[in-house]
Amino acid sequence: MTLTALQRNWPVVALIAALLAGAAAPLVFGLSAPGFYLEVLLGGLMSGVLYSLVALGFVLIFKASGVFNFAQGAMVLFAALALARMSEVMPLGIAFVLAIAIMALFAWLVERLVLRHLVNQDAVVLLMATLGVTYFLDGFGQMVWGSDIYQIETGLPKTPILVLEKVFDGGILINSEDFVAAAVAGLLVLALAIFFQKTPTGRALRAVADDHQAAQSIGIPLNRIWVIVWTVAGFVALVAGMVWGSKLGVQFSLSLIALKALPVVILGGFTSVPGAILGGLIIGVGEKFAEVFLAPIAVQQFDLAGGGIENWFAYVLALLFLLVRPEGLFGDKHIDRV
């Protein structure tokens, strides 16, 4: 980036600087030992990766069909439930493939029964339709698969490992499972990037994302593209559900992570895959820092009945970003014409 570009984007630069300063503050003011600080940072990055995964599903669907898919969280829950229950009776690999098939069927049904009839409707009508789908999936998933807490046995080691014992006093405690999760997420993003950039279908998807009408007029079948993109989003939901589920167990609260992923999406920009990833990391770290370092101070200062500021901190952070850049970090810049 040249100097002029930096000057032109000074609000963004200022915001990023403020963010970095906020992140460094606990260290500077000696609120925590460096080892503990790194542990919190890593924890934040790990949950950030998982938020990114959910946000990725949002972005894919929004890019290809302009639908703000509130049902992404419900899809995560549904896919994870399917995987967890099926893996009880069959090997995980087969269950995984079957779960993909189920999500593809779901994508086809959504296109066939919902989206096809709502072409050209207001964005808010489409949003509400996906909310309807959310209710349906929540009910249906729990009716078919049950509503207890289930485990997904991925066979990964769950033992925490100590690293950097020499550098820091006591070392840093890291969950080895988290590393695998991060690697899986990274691989998924890489695979998606290749799919979008190198395959004919990916090219068609990008064309649809650019301009529905133009894409249709050169013979790209919109309906099929929507099925594909919802299937891909379903696949992403399945991976997200597997990773979250193996960490925390598959239960209803899993569908609530959609609400955590929303600020990620607006922070990164609705139409940007890199935005979803970077946004997820920022939100993940910001949230952890706020909870660990900021909340105790707030509780002490204002005599609160407990912290819990992570519930809204992500939203306020995203809101601040939006005030500076209304289209998110990497979203398409919108020029209004009369």
Binding site: F68, L113, V114, H117, L118, Q121, D122, A123, V124, V125, L127, M128, A129, L131, G132, V133, T134, Y135, F136, L137, D138, G139, F140, Q142, M143, S147, L259, L262, P263, V265, I266, F270, F302, D303, L304, A305, G306, G307, G308, I309, N311, W312, Y315, V316, A318, L319, L322, L323, P326, E327, G328, H334, D336, R337, V338
Partner: protein, 354 residues
């Protein structure tokens, strides 16, 4: 045959400007009001009033507020329940800190506090548009949820975090029985609906609609976005605040912050979409639909004598609720109010096809 405007001439400006220009409509409205004030109290049981009609009327007030913001001004909000919470807790605090005030005054003050908070959270709307704004309003929802759960002052340091209210008393009238409550809420609903109708057909309502239809064009012809958007947020939040105070004091009596969670916000949005965006009548239709549907769904298995276990029933309810919403959006994306308008149009021509 009966529903014609033939022979009803408008011979003065006032005639031309009235809310219900057709005589039959005016009679219908009078009959409806008479039924609401005289018929329903005589017919409905206490249970019906308390469990069906009260929530319906209160949520209709909130839905009118949301409709002003979403349907008339085009700013999607997912945080209405937050403004209801602000109204409810403001009313609670005013009542315990200044018990001398009349409840009507308390209600309007609570609405005013909610309006202030609404303007505060509406400020981003000047910069953020569309779905980005919708997600940004969730910030209001989660922040307010958290605030009332954690800051002890708002709940008067109650150890459990929940608050309870004494029965309302004003002008020597103790509002205690479901019938009293019903009459109070009904009167407020009528007054507030009339006020909203006059707002949306006046200068300010037109500037909201211009903002909704195309904000840049509206700005070009001289409508100030700051003024138009923030007044929409203020009026909308005022209605939500009043509805929230009523929800707390009249319907619930005692509540905790969870009473105003995001599900309530989403339900309110469903109400105005199923009822019809940009229509006050639609707010009532939508509120009736969303209040009645779950109760109806719960009753149906009982009518047929099918034993059904509780978990399965709640899952089925979710499934049917979700499917019906999608169904309604597909069949009539403009809501029940549009069906009503089409029905009236057909009635005017009846028995001829066109």
């Amino acid at each position: 045959m009966l529903y014609r405007e033939n022979g009803q001439f408008k011979i003065s400006y006032a005639d031309d400007q009235q809310i219900l220009p057709i005589l039959q409509d005016r009679w219908f409205m009078l009959a409806l009001l008479a039924f609401a004030y005289l018929g329903l109290p005589a017919l409905a049981s206490d249970y019906t009033l308390r469990a069906l009609i009260l929530p319906f009327l209160i949520l209709a007030i909130a839905a009118i507020g949301l409709n002003i913001l979403v349907g008339y001004c085009g700013q999607i909000s997912l945080g209405t329940a937050a403004f209801m919470a602000v109204g409810a807790y403001a009313a609670y605090n005013i009542v315990i800190r200044a018990p001398v005030l009349n409840f009507i005054v308390v209600l309007f003050l609570a609405g005013g506090v909610a309006a202030l908070v609404g303007v505060l959270f509406g400020i981003p709307s000047l910069r953020i548009k569309g779905l980005y704004l919708a997600v940004a309003t969730l910030a209001a929802q989660f922040f307010v949820d958290w605030m009332f759960a954690r800051v002890k002052w708002f709940t008067d340091y109650s150890p459990s975090g929940s608050v309870s209210t004494a029965p309302i008393e004003m002008f020597g009238w103790k509002v205690e029985s479901p019938l009293d409550k019903y009459l109070l809420v009904l009167t407020l609903a009528v007054v507030l609906t009339l006020a909203a109708k006059n707002l949306v057909r006046g200068h300010i309502g037109r500037s909201w609609m211009a903002m909704r239809d195309m904000d840049v064009a509206a700005e070009v012809i001289g409508i100030r976005p700051l003024y138009a958007k923030l007044t929409a947020f203020a009026v909308s939040s005022f209605y939500a605040g009043v509805a929230g105070a009523l929800w707390g004091f009249v319907h619930l009596g005692a509540w905790e912050p969870l009473a105003f969670n995001i599900n309530l916000s989403l339900n309110l949005l469903f109400m105005i979409i199923i009822g019809g965006m940009g229509s006050l009548l639609g707010a009532y239709f939508g509120a009736a639909f969303i209040v009645l549907l779950p109760i109806l769904l719960n009753q149906i298995p009982g009518w047929f004598g099918i034993p059904i276990d509780v978990a399965l029933a709640s899952h089925l309810e979710l499934i049917i609720f979700g499917s019906l919403i999608v169904f309604f959006l597909i069949v009539e994306p403009h809501g029940l109010a549009r069906l009503w308008a089409i029905g009236k149009e057909k009635l005017r021509l009846w028995p001829f096809p066109h």
